[in-house]
Amino acid sequence: MRAVQVSNLVKDFGTFRALKGVSFEVEEGEVFGLIGPNGAGKTTTFRIIVGLLTPTAGEVKVLGRKPGDLELKKVVSYLPEDAGTYKNITGYELLKIVAELYFGKSREAEEALELGLRIAGLGGKIHEKMKNYSKGMKRRVQIARALMVKPKVAVLDEPTAGLDVIQAKEVREVVKKYSAELGTTVLVSSHNMLEVEDLCGRVAMIHGGVVVKEGFVSDLLKEYGARNLEEVFFQVVGGGAR
């Protein structure tokens, strides 16, 4: 079954057309990458998929339903780009609040919290106020927040943006490990095409509000005789990426 179906998505912001007919599909259990430069339309597409924005035209189905309804929100997690935290509460408190929002005060909530703590992997520091966290620690907590509720679909917008190579690697490992363990369908966006190769099986390349290429990473590399996705991207857009 398809976890996400996006067809002919158009989104206008005033006179600016951000998406010009974006279409792609994501199978259940897949780790799918939406890659492209800044301003290509990745965040807008993701915001429509999680129901934060409504499309001007076109259609999105997540697990066969229209985005935004409360039941769907229970099984779809979203990590916005540059997501910050509440400075004056602890990582533990945040995870506990989220667990209780999803499952009330139940055994399930306790299990979610335990899983969250494991994913965050911050040890004793989880009890410190988040204003004392490094950017990498904050992102670990956010990833934990998104995955601990065992979502069917996790939408992660630039999950490693702004992190150093070590922190970015750690975050990628966490996403790979837990999405496989939980069977979660993951949509991940990035302008770092090298890291997408590491994380995703299949990708869609988006540029100027249009999907310019879609396929399995290995097939794309073979098709273009390229060493990496960056080379594929430049060949597809003819070097005029910006």
Binding site: F13, G14, R47, L53, T54, K74, P80, A83, T85
Partner: protein, 447 residues
């Protein structure tokens, strides 16, 4: 070396709306305040200076001397209204009805005291409708005229100049607040503690409202700045719950503040009233008749605190304050939600604060009696001005009979505000509005 740096800093600061806007507002605010105060002052001064001075006269002496005083006052252009002895209420009512703001009570033995060249005791009853910082007592003018007469009468036939006589008259002053039917010791000006509360309490109330608004605006702007609002709106919780949770949290914090303020207010009155009681030990029952005022130790007649500030008034103030806090918290959420970051939120709160402060100065400085009824109704209906005017009139004047209607109207406005705010809480709407704001005020764009 330092000059270019200073130049850069100055330019940087002057081009920052956060710095400039409060400067401009401050500059506008002061003349505006001056204007508002001058209007009220002019009205008060005009009231005191123009028109015929009317004195109510209760002549208990009934001697030719007291009759002569009345005639003498009339020669001086004072219109003398003769009043009959009765209860204080009826005396004050009759005086007010006939345009007299001060009643001079001439006691028995007045004529005799003058003939024997003994100081004369007089009792002045100031009949006012409201307590105000800017009132000018008619009693001051009356007292100096009467003093002039008494000095002249005492020294008649002696060839001594009346100007050498010191303190020929001993005056006991009382104030009768007709709007409440309450009498207080002293003249209206000396009840400065009460008058001051008329100014301070609305200001405290508005500070509380502004703090609440600033707090919720900042909290919401942080959600935008940290992108936590996006996360919140994707959690399986309706947007209205997110808003209510935020409003309630603001409300609880602000409530704590207002409970402290309300306690402070009650303490202020109790202290003030106990001070007045200490000034006049002994009897504490309110005077009902003129003879009570003339009795030895008459200054013991006091209004009980409950007569001045009724429990119903305090209850209405509490309700009004709660509504106001909720309204301001919602308004703050709107401001914060429309701001991409805290800096923009602070810039937007400043002009709103001016909108709050100007009406509050109207409340503080303008006589309730002289206020246009429509303006008064508007001040009572707007949730952010209601507790200010209510707290003032509760003390100094009288609460309008339409108060329940006003409370209902302000509740309706508060609910409307919350509803509109909940409609705003979607990334779609917010990003559209934020874009419009950035177009209108490009300087507010996030750098």
């Amino acid at each position: 070396m330092i000059k270019p740096l200073v130049e850069k800093e100055v330019k940087d600061l002057l081009r920052d709306p956060r710095i400039i806007v409060p400067f401009i507002l401050g500059a506008l605010l002061l003349p505006l305040l001056g204007f508002v105060i001058s209007i009220s002052m002019r009205a008060a001064v005009e009231q005191a200076v123009t028109g015929t001075q009317v004195i109510g006269l209760l002549d208990l002496d009934g001697t030719p001397t007291s009759a002569e005083l009345a005639a003498w006052l009339e020669q001086r252009g004072v219109s003398v209204v003769r009043l009959a002895e009765g209860s204080l209420d009826s005396l004050a009512e009759e005086a007010a009805g006939r345009g007299a703001e001060v009643v001079v009570i001439i006691p028995r033995g007045f004529g005799e005291a003058i003939s024997q060249r003994r100081p004369v005791n007089l009792t002045f009853l100031n009949v006012v409708e409201e307590l105000s910082l800017l009132g000018v007592s008619k009693a001051v003018v009356s007292a100096s005229l009467i003093e002039e007469y008494v000095s002249a009468a005492m020294l008649r036939g002696t060839g001594i100049s009346p100007s050498v006589v010191r303190n020929p008259v001993r005056v006991a002053q009382y104030t009768f607040l007709t709007s409440k039917g309450v009498q207080l010791p002293g003249d209206p000006e000396s009840l400065v503690g009460l008058s001051l509360s008329v100014m301070l309490i609305p200001l405290i109330v508005v500070m509380l409202a502004l703090t609440t608004m600033q707090m919720s605006a900042t909290s919401m702007a942080v959600e935008n700045e940290e992108r936590t609002l996006e996360t919140l709106l994707t959690l399986p919780v309706p947007a209205t719950h997110i808003l209510l949770a935020k409003l309630l949290a603001m409300f609880v914090v602000a409530l704590l503040g207002s409970v402290l303020q309300l306690a402070g207010m009650v303490a202020y009155f109790l202290l003030l009233m106990s001070q007045l009681v200490q000034m006049s030990p002994g009897q504490q029952a309110p005077a009902t008749g003129v003879s009570d005022l003339l009795a030895p130790g008459a200054s013991t007649f006091l209004a009980a605190p409950a007569q001045l500030v009724s429990p119903q008034g305090l209850g209405a103030l509490a309700v009004s304050l709660l509504l106001s806090l909720f309204f301001c918290a919602a308004l703050g959420v709107v401001v914060g939600a429309l701001s991409k970051d805290v800096r923009i939120a602070s810039t937007m709160v400043s002009p709103l604060a001016t909108l709050f402060i100007v009406p509050i100065f109207l409340v503080v400085y303008m006589s309730s009696k002289a206020m246009n009824p429509l303006l008064r109704a508007a001040l009572y209906i707007l949730p952010f001005t209601q507790p200010a005017i209510l707290s003032k009139e509760m003390i100094a004047y009288t609460l309008p009979p339409e108060l329940p209607v006003y409370l209902t109207a302000s509740l309706a406005l508060t609910l409307l505000m919350v509803y509109l705010t909940s409609r705003l809480l979607s990334i779609e709407t917010l990003s559209r509005l934020q874009r419009s704001i950035s177009t209108i005020a490009p300087s507010l764009k996030r750098k």
